[in-house]
Subunit: 105 residues, 2 copies
Amino acid sequence: MSLIADTPKPPYYAVIFTSHRTEGDNGYDQMANRMIELALKQPGFLGIESAREDVGITVSYWSDLESIKQWKANTQHQEAQMLGHQKWYSSFKTRISKVERDYGI
Amino acid sequence: MSLIADTPKPPYYAVIFTSHRTEGDNGYDQMANRMIELALKQPGFLGIESAREDVGITVSYWSDLESIKQWKANTQHQEAQMLGHQKWYSSFKTRISKVERDYGI
């Protein structure tokens, strides 16, 4: 998987997830890897980019809003979201956005 | 500055900048800090989030497309963009997106 997502021509959607972690791993890394593997199999999934320093930023790309809705409702993902609320994140923000234009080298 | 941007109620805009750095600093850190200071003063600027591991992700938030256009055209920022192309980034992707919905804790 390329570290810069190889997304198609816009429009498509980006879910920007910014978070602060709590102390310790508490099963986080294993679940994070499981969720990436699971996301890759979802209809409409286009790619993912992720980095963490003081704050963590994960951007996942999707073909349409319905695919994002289905992924949010996925049973295993819902379990991960619940544990995220309870254990792993002291704060987070999720932003659903429509990519209108892109460019790069 | 909070590490998770304190953005207003949507809609607003997100510029997602994902990059791979070349080896060495080559004046990058100083310019990156200058650009953040300068961005903070721009009309329509709402906040910024940034993290780098294997890939760097910087998301800046803006009230409207015109503010993004003005920032891209800023003389000092244009110089930084040119040096980014020439020296600092082996690859990058910039995505302009409209945030339609957000939620968090």
